[in-house]
């Protein structure tokens, strides 16, 4: 059949080209990681430098993985590429939950002192709260993405205000120092929960492996997915819960970085131009790792820590978002 000879090479060629792109990106990730570890390291204090840099590098890689994967999955599930979970305020919600737990339990309790225990409690609460809030929003707005997005941006400031209020109520005098212990940031990464986070992410991938395999079909839309015999609602519910927890992991480790997911997910989609989620997710994760690690490298050595990387991501991401919003024919 003529069709066969014509198409097979094309399909495989496109896939091979993408595989090549992904391989180059993987090399770049490794290069960035090596540079991050070794640039301007003083050989005399090598092991000391490594004890600082290695955990931070791992944290950044995990965060990039969680955000990159969650953003692609979320976009495909709600069938819209200008929205990411962080734009809807999920990371502010996590920060709020963590603060609220410490607020209720007291700053001397085990929930405040043991990072792993508090992380576990936060995860459970996050899963419940996010499902309730965002489930309600999507239902109430009839899945109108623009409304959800606008409400999400408002919720971001809402959660932020409550979080800030709680912190001030807890300790009106030491507001700033309390804030920095409650909310992780790139200058203050939460490396105590590395192991726990890895376990959480591994469990998520294992439990959701069937649903993740369905992603390609889910992006055809609800009617088509059902037509092809997929239990649509169940898969969507499970995947969204997974997204929520992945965002919780990332936020717990490096704090909120709102536009990160938007940038890396769309860069991956533009670069790979495919619907295959295995490739899209990998691309997004690699982009995230490159941006975070290389960005942090520049911040530490060029700006000597003067400017947090999140500032660059906010400006770049905001402009990119406006560009996407204004150039797309369909939202």
């Amino acid at each position: 059949m003529s069709a066969n000879t014509h198409t097979k090479p094309y399909a495989t060629a496109a896939r091979r080209a993408n595989a090549r792109k992904l391989a180059i990106m993987a090399v770049l990730v490794l290069a960035a990681a090596a540079a991050y570890l070794l640039v301007e390291v003083n050989p005399r204090y090598f092991s000391y430098a490594m004890s600082l840099r290695v955990p931070k590098l791992i944290v950044m890689l995990i965060a990039a993985f969680a955000i990159g994967g969650a953003s692609i999955v979320f976009q495909s599930v709600i069938n819209n590429i200008i929205v990411t979970p962080c734009l809807l305020g999920m990371n502010s919600l996590y920060t709020l939950i963590h603060t609220a737990v410490v607020f209720v339990a007291g700053s001397g309790s085990i929930l405040a002192i043991n990072a792993n225990v508090s992380f576990a409690v936060d995860l459970v609460l996050m899963g419940i709260a996010a499902t309730l809030i965002y489930g309600y929003l999507f239902r109430k707005t009839n899945h109108n993405v623009l409304y959800v997005l606008l409400i999400g941006t408002v919720l971001t400031s809402f959660f932020g205000s409550i979080q800030s209020t709680l912190t001030r109520v807890m300790d009106p005098n030491e507001y700033d120092s309390l804030l920095s212990t409650l909310v992780a940031s790139f200058s203050n990464v939460n490396s105590e929960i590395i192991l726990f986070s890895l376990v959480v992410l591994a469990i998520l991938i294992f439990v959701l492996r069937r649903d993740l395999a369905l992603l390609d079909v889910l992006t055809l839309g609800k009617a088509q997915a059902i037509n092809l015999g997929v239990d649509y609602d169940r898969s969507i519910r499970r995947l969204l819960l997974g997204v929520t927890l992945a965002i919780a992991v990332a936020t717990a480790m490096v704090g909120p970085i709102s536009f990160m997911g938007l940038i890396i997910a769309n860069l991956s989609r533009q670069l790979l131009k495919t619907y295959r989620h295995s490739q899209l997710i990998l691309g997004s994760v690699f982009f995230g790792m490159i941006i975070l690690v290389a960005g942090q490298l520049i911040v530490e050595h060029v700006y000597t820590y003067a400017i947090p990387i999140s500032v660059f991501i906010t400006v770049g991401g905001g402009i990119y978002f406006l560009y996407l919003l204004l150039t797309r024919r369909r939202i």
Partner: protein, 363 residues
């Protein structure tokens, strides 16, 4: 005929009372609230000792409580009037100093003032904030007028993101020149520093609000659309930009003196319009009064919650405001798309309101 006329006159009188009823009630309520607020604080004031000429108490009253009240009233009136003007001119219910990048532009201006003139006075900073706020708002409106949006909701979304970008640049400069500490004063609005002698806000806002009242009719006409205002001989672009400038200057004044206070310009005009309709002339006074009440109530709450400390008012307004805003959005969504569009159905203006809420036609 005669009976008809008489009846209509009676109706007119009745409706006159009705029309001013809300205004009167709001004024009374604001008055009571204002007096009450004067007696909330760390140190208990009592009316009797105050009248007896207790100098200590009189001093607190004059140095702290009264200036603060005035600042609050001016903020409430100013921000809500600015929001109303912007909504009217852009013909979009979701435009406001918060969602139109005005506040973040003003903050950017203040930072520039701090950078270029480290010893600048308040007036110098105000000047920079004015210029930046006006420019930022103009750019935003120019921008959204050039784009035909598929949905009214796009306008605030673009505005918020635009504000985010400006805020990010502000942050960048602040970090670069180690000004974050200095800038934080203007990022989170609070009244705790407003004491005697700081009546600048009053000087700034009262004239601007009077100006807004004088031109209310013009704004109304421009809000009806370009062709409509041309037909009536009103210079569209001039009034549009004058109106936006007034709104931006009011906002910048508030940002310079008490810091950023979001949502008032968005929430208050919308709440008032839900009860009174969309004509600016009729609602301007009520909006101003309600805005003052809203900010005053929030401030009283902020002072009481963790007394003897106080919360920045921006937090209280942020919490209440965002709840109200989400409620408003969902309310308007449920009422259908017509409710989201502005009353007039002319085309053009800031946004072409073709909403795309999905809904099966059932056939």
């Amino acid at each position: 005929m005669l009976i008809d006329k008489r009846r209509s006159r009676a109706q007119k009188e009745e409706s006159t009372i009705k029309r001013y009823l809300t205004t009167i009630l709001l004024s009374l309520f604001l008055l009571i609230l204002s007096v009450w607020s004067l007696f909330i604080g760390v140190i208990d004031l009592e009316l009797s000792t105050l009248l007896n000429g207790n100098l200590e108490q009189l001093k607190i009253f004059l140095v702290s409580r009264l200036p603060r009240l005035l600042a609050i009233l001016c903020t409430g009136v100013g921000m809500s009037v600015a929001g109303l003007i912007m909504q009217q001119l852009c013909r979009n219910k979701f435009v406001s100093p918060t969602t139109g990048a005005t506040i973040s532009s003003a903050q950017f201006g203040i930072l520039l003032a701090l950078l270029f003139m480290p010893n600048s006075t308040l007036w110098g900073r105000a000047l920079f904030a004015f210029a930046a706020a006006i420019l930022g708002t103009w750019i935003f409106v120019w921008f959204i007028q050039r784009i035909r949006f598929k949905d009214v909701i796009m306008v605030p979304l673009v505005g918020i993101m635009f504000g985010n970008v400006i805020g990010g640049i502000t942050n960048y400069l602040a970090y670069q020149y180690e000004m974050t500490q200095a800038l934080s004063t203007w990022l989170v609005g609070h009244f705790s520093l407003v004491v005697r002698g700081r009546f600048e806000l009053v000087y700034l806002i009262v004239p601007l609000v009077i100006l807004a009242f004088l031109f209310a009719n013009h704004f109304n006409i421009v809000g009806m659309g370009k062709d409509f205002s041309k037909n009536l001989g009103v210079p569209y672009n001039l009034v549009l930009f004058a109106g936006l400038s007034i709104a931006a200057m009011i906002t910048a004044s508030v940002v310079v003196i008490v810091g950023s206070i979001s949502y008032i310009g968005l929430i208050v005009p919308n709440l008032v319009a839900m009860f009174k309709g969309d004509r600016i002339r009729g609602t301007l006074v009520d909006t101003a009064l309600f805005g003052a009440i809203f900010v005053l109530a929030c401030d009283m709450l902020a002072r009481v919650v963790i007394a003897p400390y106080e919360l920045p008012i921006e937090l209280i307004v942020g919490i209440l405001g965002s709840i109200l805003f989400v409620g408003l959005l969902l309310y308007r969504l449920r009422r259908g798309n017509k409710a989201i569009r502005l009353g007039s159905a002319h085309s053009g203006g800031c946004a072409a309101a073709v909403s795309q809420v999905e809904g099966g036609d059932g056939a």
